[in-house]
Amino acid sequence: MPVIAGDIYFDKVRKEYGRVTALEQLDLRVAAGERLVLLGPSGCGKTTALRLVAGLERVTSGKLYLNGRLANNLEPGERDVAMVFQNYALYPHMTVWENIAFGLQVRRVAKEEIKARIKEALAILGLEGLEERRPRELSGGQRQRVALARAIVKQAPYFLLDEPLSNLDAQLRTQARTELVRLHRKLNSTMIYVTHDQVEAMTIGQRIAILAGGVLQQVDTPENIYNRPANTFVAKFIGNPPMNLLPGIVKGNQLFLGEGLKLIIPGNWSAWLLGKSQNRVIMGLRPEDVTLREEGVAEGEGLPVRITWRENCGKERLYYLAAGDKELTASFSEGRTEPRGGELWLTIDWDKVHFFAEGDGNSLGYPWNTRELSLKAYA
């Protein structure tokens, strides 16, 4: 059931509820056929953005285009969007079949056609045999798939999903993620997927748009979001456990992180930071990118740390470290040599370090070419 997809364009879109601003000037283009994930903590405006596309909310200012057409004043029913709600919004008094057929009947789709489409959708989602059940007689996963089926039979150019997996247990969720991606490949529609779960975002999105406080933080591929976070918010939000962020002062080729915590910055970074003329910085270090040594290192080559707590998470081990008055996390996946404890030295792989400006938290960039990873790889 391939559909002709359309693109979606937010042009300085703003949404206010009374005195509360949910979205501040969103500029975002979703390409036709693309799978975009809106990611952010609750209250960041991601669901609002989705509902604006659906027409369930009206834009306060700015323009919203669907397929190049101004959509600000279109009724939801005129927009040709299919949507899966967080709570699935299945009509409790209708059977599975009636739930799926309802929208099509309203649109006066021919009976035969309705039958064919539902059959196909049920087959795709493995719902055969459940046609006569009512929602309350279904399991959570089945309900979610009925909601999906109801959305896909519409064969709409836009496919909107509002945290569709949040009510499922962990195992089902993993399974559903792959199903969703497969489904999208079949449908070919433009899909916006809203979630607060970074794993879902990373696995489902071709691109991820991260929102916080109604402001768009970064839009990029999952790899770039992870490897090249645009600011401290993204850096901290993506990755588990989150990135260590250590404020410091750059003096020449030296970085002072605190009392007795000094690092020598290698040449390429030193020149780069000099060029940014920013001496108050925040250094970002992912927990998996640090090394702990038992033997001492030269001054400026590492930081003296102490282990305060350790956690065994099965596949990996987490170490909570104290370096002077700073706290850090380090993680070690299985197989890596583990330190025994006591006085340790933490060393850094400078190829995996991030620097942000202290004031606005924006990334200071990288001294090497940042465009090596591109969107094309995922097309």
Binding site: A54, G55, L56, R79, N87, P92, M94, F102, R107
Partner: protein, 272 residues
């Protein structure tokens, strides 16, 4: 635990007794001869029982006609109240516009306007329109009910808004959103409310008393007063027979649907 149970049944049984005793006496007196009425008023078991009071009542008043009058009025009022309440509840929940809350609270305020404050102008209005002694006169002022609007608004708000949103995305019109999505979802509340409206209208005394003075248009509660006329002397047996007959339809309806009625009352959030 078992030893605990009987003790608490005692106060409950007292309450049940209080609820039932007046009814038992109504029934008993209806079957008594005038002599038994006065000389054995405490006896709840009329022996020998007589159906004379019922025969007298049936002969004295056109009972069928009164049942029909009462039913028609109760039906019109119930249907109209449900219709206006449903529409208004839909309007208050599905749209946002300036002054919506103010308007809603204004509606609610009407619950607290005592009937006596409005009765006089309404009475004059009806009499000027020539609607005294008509079903219209009795039914028209009761066709909207703020309590109904309030309770249905609560019910609609208790179902997830996404149900309606999903329908809107499917280009479902307002009529069908209401008819096929919302109403089925709040069916228990609707039924409970309908029953409540029906019983209340069936039992209404005051407004019909003002509106109707034509005997052929009486409702059952009004017919009762024909047996309490002062100069004629009260025939208690007949009066209780009439009271029994007037109560029979709602009581039978209630007993038949009893579990359902009470359950819907309990589960439909009619608590407000």
């Amino acid at each position: 635990m078992k030893t605990k149970i009987p003790w608490w049944h005692f106060p409950l049984l007292l309450v049940v007794l209080g609820s039932l005793l007046p009814l038992i006496w109504m029934l008993a007196t209806a079957w008594k001869t005038p002599e038994q009425v006065f000389n054995a008023s405490l006896n709840p078991w009329p022996y020998p029982a007589t159906a004379a009071n019922f025969a007298y009542v049936m002969g004295a008043i056109p009972l069928g006609r009164y049942i029909l009058n009462t039913f028609i009025i109760a039906f019109i009022v119930t249907a109209a109240k449900l219709l206006t309440s449903i529409l208004a509840a839909y309007g208050f929940t599905q749209f946002s516009f300036r002054g919506r809350e103010t308007l809603f609270y204004l509606c609610l305020l009407s619950i607290f306007v005592p009937f006596t404050v409005t009765m006089m102008p309404n009475y004059l209005f009806m009499s000027r329109m020539g609607w005294l002694n008509t079903y219209t006169g009795v039914a028209l002022p009761q066709m909207a009910d703020a309590l109904g609007i309030f309770l249905l608004r609560q019910s609609i708000r208790s179902i997830p808004p996404s149900l309606v949103e999903a329908a809107r995305l499917d280009r479902v019109g307002h009529g069908r959103i209401l008819g096929r999505v919302l109403l089925p979802a709040i069916k228990p509340s609707l039924i409970a409310l309908g029953i409540l409206f029906f019983i209340n209208t069936w039992n209404e005394y005051f407004w019909p008393l003002l509106m109707i003075n034509d005997k052929s248009m009486y409702t059952l509660p009004l017919a009762l007063q024909m047996f309490t006329n002062l100069e004629g002397g009260t025939n208690w047996g007949a009066m209780m027979a009439a009271a029994t007959l007037a109560s029979l339809p709602p009581v039978v309806a209630y007993l038949l649907a009893q579990r359902y009625v009470v359950d819907t009352f309990i589960h439909s959030g009619l608590k407000g």
